[in-house]
Point group: C2
Amino acid sequence: MKNDTFLRALLRQPTPYTPVWIMRQAGRYLPEYNETRRRAGSFLDLAKNPDYATEVTLQPLARFNLDAAILFSDILTIPDAMGLGLYFAEGEGPKFERPLREEWEIRNLGVPDPAEHLRYVLDAVAQIRRSLNGEVPLIGFSGSPYTLACYMVEGGASSDFRTIKTMLYDRPDLLHHLLQVNANAVTAYLNAQIEAGAQAVMIFDTWGGSLSAAAYREFSLDYLQRIVAGLIRERDGQRVPSIVFTKGGGLWLEDIAAIGCDALGLDWTCDIGVARARVGGKVALQGNLDPMTLFSQPDSIREQVGRVLASYGEGSGHVFNLGHGVSQFTPPAHVGALVDAVHELSARYHATT
Amino acid sequence: MKNDTFLRALLRQPTPYTPVWIMRQAGRYLPEYNETRRRAGSFLDLAKNPDYATEVTLQPLARFNLDAAILFSDILTIPDAMGLGLYFAEGEGPKFERPLREEWEIRNLGVPDPAEHLRYVLDAVAQIRRSLNGEVPLIGFSGSPYTLACYMVEGGASSDFRTIKTMLYDRPDLLHHLLQVNANAVTAYLNAQIEAGAQAVMIFDTWGGSLSAAAYREFSLDYLQRIVAGLIRERDGQRVPSIVFTKGGGLWLEDIAAIGCDALGLDWTCDIGVARARVGGKVALQGNLDPMTLFSQPDSIREQVGRVLASYGEGSGHVFNLGHGVSQFTPPAHVGALVDAVHELSARYHATT
């Protein structure tokens, strides 16, 4: 590995600077991504074709001095493999043709075999890993059981999660069944990605933050813990770190840090220095610049990057990132300004290591 | 005042049970509200006519055993009075005909005189207060300076607040000017409501939670503090309590509790018992049931109400509410189940007072 700062920071080992990658770094803000997508036909044609997935995964690395690559895929591949029929309605986000409406549909759900039903993802992981040729590590990922369940039950994005929350309050037994199936599926899926070549894995709990504190523990965190406990810890003699990111989960960092993961993703509402003090030396932290910072001028971006770095302070254990995915309207040059600012401004915090 | 439990709880004085009201309790989930709105013509026709505003303010009190009334109005009356032209596009939420696009527009903004430009609100407050006839207290309210600024700069609701955040990072001086004008306007407006008869006031900081921790302090909380410092504290020998509600502000409760307000509104992501321990005996707490609980069955609602009450624990200082406004799709009978459950289940926590 030519640049392993990302993996070292996740394991809280010394690095010469703070590594950085950007959630959704391969995405619509890049003209070359949009060009590949046009050639592929649709988002799903892109995501399901390992050649295209490899091509777009590598695009941001050609432009910016990023310290990690992340598999180009979608968080809803698992329910799609379960037969729910993922599709994207123009301008409306992901939807399912067959959302879970009846108890028997939930009781009948099976755990998809990644080698069979998610072969295209594993092929993409292997191909990207080969193409990276040891330059930077490759991150695999999945949606969390609760976040997957939100889409599976609501049938798409929701502003209030009325359907799944009605199930949560009235039929917790049924939701628990669904979440256990999802947790088994996510564990198998992430382990298959690791075996195909992913060197770190991240679980996106995009909607866990919409729950009450008690419901979060019972319906999201508990299943995250079961997944982390079932992950392959080492591959080819290398530790495979895991990152758990609950957007809006800043109130519960101590609890998340206790489930056995190596790092927490932080959204931009947390002060990262306060977060570090709260989780002590238990985990690394990944984040957490407000993605909207990237609409300001490079000087302002540099100032805000400096504030996040200063708040985290001295020493290792910080992977710089945004607090959420990069907006499709972001000027690409501003992402470059961010990446360069992180590398330049962070060296002083690692001088003593 | 026949029932002053709400005011007493805000001042952390003993009450025989936990008082309850519901954010947006006069709203679209009530058929009688929709009937009045049809007669009025539009939402703004309703809000700007003191007779109609009085009628709909009182409707939920006729159905449910609520412990407070809240003025029926909109959080955007102030920018409307500043000349921005508030309107409601069908199914799209509030918009402004003349959003703030240029620096000179912001520099030219004036603080509206409530007695002149917001007369209809003050007339409604006076008329509602008379109609209540001392049954329960009347709450006045306003949007927060930052939340108003979001709508004024974005021109309406926003999913990412890109425009105002670009201003925040690139032109903090200009945003500070706008926020100070808004803070002056909110202070004058709330004081005018108090003089017209409001017995408590609440500031809705709906979008403060979209900010980073540092930006929240600088661009939202600081102006909330200036407003609270300028509020009339007593009227007719009665203390007029103030409630500050930053949705998504659970990480910052200690800071909000320190600005001089009497109570904090809590959204449903905070555990109210943890929140109580964090803010100590400084302020009362208002909240915080997940509004989606109201789509479950009355038995489930009762159970979840019991959990919130148990989490808060013994003693005064709790005003029960949802953690956000009631959904327009809520069955009205479920609101009744909530109100009755709060009164029945809370008495035991006040037995020793």
